[in-house]
Amino acid sequence: MSSIKTKQEDIIEEFSMFDDWMQRYEYMIELGKSLPIIDEKYKTEDNIIKGCQSRVWLYAEMDENQKIEYTADSDAIITKGIIAILIRVFSDEKPEHILEADTDFIDEIGLKEHLSPTRANGLVSMIKQMKMYAIAYNSQQNQA
């Protein structure tokens, strides 16, 4: 199994231990509080993803092992919690693996509603933006 898939399975497993929505959300709020994991200097207009409901900042860098490190933040804590999960899954991975991966595991942990475009919390655009970074770094590598 790919490392992304393994991480997703781990998260599904963790969430399966919760009995109800309240425990799930308490956990996400905890995760959210462990953010920001973005350097203040990257919280710029350029890196902002404007949702109607909450705002998200996203930044990405390539490390020496040719893996992408994502950092992000949001002004809403539940949005932050989901960002924390997405970053755990996609960060420290090679661009080509990020591009192959999907986010179906979010449905399985009962958070699907947060990835609905009509919710306008910036998360859908954030995932798109994560993939855009992967495309950009991927083509950079191919050229090098």
Binding site: W21, C52, Q53, D75, I78
Partner: protein, 412 residues
């Protein structure tokens, strides 16, 4: 307090009229406090729509056959119900539209033929985006200048600045009767009087007022008044533009098509008279008829009773909310607004509160409520808005308050 409020209206009986109020959300009984976005629909209105398709469906204003006549009569009766409700002089002054947004665009488009550079139009800082953007487009097209009537910290308009802004250059003034984000009831009588003194026309967006109070367009002497049926127990996608007959006569048609013509040849088309001149194409027939049924339903309960009852809900909820530490309520005191509570809890994002309340079955609106200038004024990303209707209860407010406390403790 609880007893008196139950006495004004028989709420338990009223709730039986609304099938949706019996349903559950996320395993909890629905507490619907997003009435300012759209109201729920009573059985009488739903039945009216079903009855139309089962018994009356035909195109209107164009058939000699009986069914077409039946449908036309039902539609025109609804127009008459709307006329009576808002006390317009003539049914010619009631244009049935797709809602407030459509009504406003219709007027804005019409005035694009009359305005020119140097003219000024005034818009309040408290408007819904649908009462801002069409006027910006109008100004871009005509070269007229858009000026803003600012608001004060207490959620009211700054009428002193309004006085200063008014001049003989002012051609039009746009203001909502009630603010959707804050619930403030604006002093539209004064605004209309003063605007008329300099010769300006006034459009009042009544979308948020109509569910709570009955506007009399003749007493107000307002030039244009707009309403959406879906906020007053009616269906979505239908509404009203009221306009004084002489003004509507001057305005060119908005859309061309069937229904709005008298005679058509390729050389020249003459337009139909009011109100049909502004009703091109087959309208939302069932929606129009149901709009009438919705007003009948609300009038049978009585707007005075509705207002008194909603005020009790608002006072009760305001008091309970103020007792929660860190709560800031935006906008006016209960006496100066409709049953809307727009608030934040210190250090907590409205999106987080809305998400957790939903999990507990409570539907509120969060965000900027299509009124970003108000949010910029208060320097906040948005608010949580709980808006009440006459079918809500004190015990639902108790559920909301305890859910809010729970959400707060989870988030702090």
């Amino acid at each position: 307090m609880i007893n008196t409020s139950e006495q004004i209206l028989d709420v338990e009986k009223i709730r039986q009229d609304f099938p949706i109020l019996q349903r559950e959300i996320n395993g909890k009984p629905l507490v619907y406090f997003d009435n300012a976005a759209t109201s729920q629909t009573p059985k009488a209105v739903i039945d009216c729509i079903v009855d139309y398709y089962e018994n009356k469906n035909a195109n209107i204003h164009r058939g000699v056959h009986s069914l077409s006549q039946i449908a036309t009569d039902a539609y025109e009766n609804a127009r008459e119900t709307v006329r009576k409700h808002f006390n317009a002089k003539s049914a010619n002054e009631i244009i049935l539209t797709a809602g407030t947004t459509h009504s406003i665009n219709l007027v804005a488009n019409g005035y694009s033929h009359f305005l020119k550079s140097g003219d000024e139009i005034l818009v309040s800082a408290m408007e819904h985006h649908s009462n801002i953007v069409p006027w910006q487009m109008l100004c871009n097209k005509t070269g007229a200048t858009l000026k803003v009537i600012p608001m004060l910290n207490n959620g009211e308009l700054d009428l002193q600045v309004f006085d200063d802004l008014l001049s003989e250059r002012t051609k039009m003034v746009f203001v909502n009767h009630v603010s959707n984000a804050l619930g403030t009831i604006n002093p539209i009588e004064e605004i209309i009087n003063k605007s008329h003194k300099v010769g300006a026309k006034v459009l009042v967006d009544g979308a948020q007022a109509a569910p709570h109070l009955k506007a009399d367009v003749q007493a107000l002497d307002v030039d244009f008044y707009t309403v959406s049926a879906h906020k007053i127990c009616g269906p979505t996608g239908v509404g009203m533009l009221y306009g004084k007959e002489e003004l509507l006569n001057e305005l060119p048609p908005y859309q061309g098509g069937g229904e709005m013509i008298a005679e058509v040849s390729f050389e020249k088309t003459t337009y139909a008279g009011l109100p049909h001149k502004f009703e091109a194409g087959t309208p939302n027939i069932s929606g129009g008829i149901a709009f009438g049924a919705a007003l009948d339903y609300m009038n049978a309960i009585g707007f005075d009773k509705i207002a008194d009852y909603e005020m009790q809900l608002l006072v009760y909820a305001t008091k309970a909310l103020e007792e929660i530490e860190g709560v800031r309520i935006y906008g006016a005191k209960p006496e100066k607004k409709t049953a809307v509570l727009s608030f934040n809890i210190e250090g907590i994002h409205p999106y987080d509160i809305g998400t957790l309340l939903d999990k507990m079955g409570v539907a509120v609106r969060t965000g900027h409520h299509c009124a970003q200038p108000i949010m910029s004024f208060y320097k906040i990303p948005g608010t949580v808005r709980a808006s009440f209707s006459f079918y809500n209860t004190i015990s639902e407010i108790d559920v909301f308050i305890s859910a809010l406390k729970k959400a707060k403790s989870m988030l702090s």
